[in-house]
Point group: C2
Chain length 328, copies 2
DNA sequence: AATGGGATTGTTATCGATAACATTTTCGCA
DNA sequence: TGCGAAAATGTTATCGATAACAATCCCATT
């Protein structure tokens, strides 16, 4: 920086002003400094800046260590959005969303003097750990507790689940069975709620809930039960991987999809269009979620008056070929 | 830090020594300082440390923005390993692995004064961009150019492909068709090479190569061609998603797997066991790759004499039910 | 008891930026 | 023309750690 100042014939402070777009710099000086910067290939030292300002151009993300399609998509989308806004993203993943792990990751991030935090926290236990986060640190939650009181971006799980369930009912099915994700996930809870509401409103019987984790393996297990019950003609799986497991279990017992059983998934993973049969599912706007989260976070970082605290991104039914009217 | 020093009745330098495990500190002093640190809940400011040492406890990762199973797994595995070693990970993803994008991300990372870089660079164009990286920055490549001359960790793609191809030949098939990934990926090249070698060694005819990207959609397209050729009885797909697409195309034209056509994939995504039929595939040791990469990188960071520059992690055939002898 | 050298601790400078305050220019207007 | 306020620039202090060097302590040895 000193070199730049010398080359431009100004003080280092003026260089700093140019760098930070301060208003009171003569246009001519600004140009000279810019030229010097370019000529020397100078790049400011972020560590020094972080030290003196107490804030870095770093956003910390706390997420569950996972290759699940949803969280992974969210992460890369967010990283991309943050990069476009000139922020780097430091990832702190945890194996479990318990209080201790999250606390540790948050502390690591605070050590780095992150400008803000994004917590992808799909369970209540994770939401609890927010107490660890000092109130003056900008934070945005993704998929967190709607009653948490912090800025939050979620996908409209309830609406997505309603669309899926309604789609099956409208095809003529008496009722719809549901294979849910882990019940302590907010996502799962929302999907269960949407499913149940829709059945209630339609006056349909509400079958017992089959709950699972998010894996194809558990979907398979649930499917093995569903396949044995002749009355089951319509199933809504809480994600596409569960749906795949269900699909295989049905296939093994000779129950054809969609001829005998109609099936809807959730997520629209890129492979869903190539299941046998192509899966009708619900697409979540991960990119929108990521961008909304970044916007909220930047708002907090720049101390702008919070416009909206909670953003809900819509989900969209994608119709393929795994749903037909029931065969009588 | 000053507060800690005062409370412990020592100078700030001594506190620094305790923090950095310097040898020449009396045990008693060390204990006093530790107690003071604990009492005040003191945590060192990483920005200040980075400023003075010129190195942070941050590892920069350059990766392709992708929800592909492989890269995503690699990333979370690496993050976990790095966290265990006390390093934070800053992710810089790029849309395309071209020189400019990579250059920009690398510069962003260098601004942050990362202690080292990990580049997940599966294509030659990415490997070229390594020229942007100054020689004194520790770098490890994952999936990069074997002839690149930098530290490199790869999965043994050739051996994996050989195992897959051999498995099909040993089942009695005359030859094996291959649906490859993008040909500019090193991974693809290795798998193609292993496939071709094995056929040559067995004296089998080498069918024309079908190349695709990594998606189920392209696998489907390739499968539509394969399904029309009666002589095709064995297919090796370069990843499980391609295999899924192939599977559906075959199914659509009434060619049963494995009865009419045997199929092997690559990756062992968690869903592969629930395809119809369960997919025989090749598992890559992503965790091992990540840990090896970290070890190499830490070695460079600590200026240890390089033990090995290249690490090759084995791949392992996972036998399921998508392969049988050809029906005559 | 004196001495020397290693072990321990302290003092001061430094990293590279911004903040706060001081100073000099510039320019509109009486 | 001269004055004062605003604009532009410069000077010095500061963030919180480590590096380099200086000073002290301790203990074995003679």
């Amino acid at each position: 920086m000193t070199d730049v100042a010398r080359l431009a014939g100004v003080s280092h402070q003026t260089v700093s002003r140019v760098l930070n777009d301060h208003p009171n710099v003569k246009e001519q000086t600004r140009i000279r400094v810019r030229a010097a910067i370019a000529e020397l290939g100078y790049r400011p030292n972020r560590a020094a800046r972080a030290l003196v300002t107490g804030r870095s151009q770093l956003i910390g993300v706390v997420a569950r260590n996972s290759t699940l399609y949803g969280p992974a998509s969210m992460l890369t989308e967010f990283e991309q959005a943050a990069a476009d806004a000139g922020f780097a993203v430091s990832v702190g993943s945890v194996r479990e969303l318990d209080r201790d792990s999250i606390g540790a990751v948050v502390e690591r991030h605070l050590d780095q003097r992150v400008a803000g935090l994004v917590v992808i926290a799909q369970t209540a236990s994770a939401a609890e750990a927010l107490a660890e986060i000092p109130a003056d640190v900008p934070v945005v939650f993704i998929d967190g507790d709607p009653a948490g009181g912090r800025a939050l971006v979620t996908v409209d799980q309830v609406a997505g689940a309603r669309a899926a369930t309604r789609h099956l009912l409208e095809a003529g099915h008496q009722t719809v069975w549901h294979v849910s994700g882990p019940t302590d996930w907010f996502d799962s809870a929302g999907r269960i709620q949407g499913w149940r509401q829709t059945l209630e409103e339609a006056g349909a019987e509400i079958p017992p809930l089959l709950s699972a984790d998010w894996s194809a393996a558990e979907g398979y297990r649930a499917g093995q039960m569903l396949a044995r019950m002749p009355e089951v003609t319509a199933v809504f799986a809480a994600n596409d991987h569960l749906a795949l497991g269900v699909l295989r279990a049905l296939h093994e017992r000779g129950r054809r999809v969609p001829h005998d059983v109609s099936l809807v998934g959730f997520d629209d993973v890129p492979e869903a269009a190539f299941f046998i049969p192509p899966l009708t599912t619900v697409r979540q706007g991960f990119g929108d979620v990521a961008r909304a989260a970044l916007t909220l976070l930047l708002g907090q970082i720049h101390d702008e008056p919070a416009t909206a605290d909670q953003v809900v991104v819509p989900a969209q039914l994608v119709v393929r070929q795994s749903v037909t009217p029931p065969s009588v």
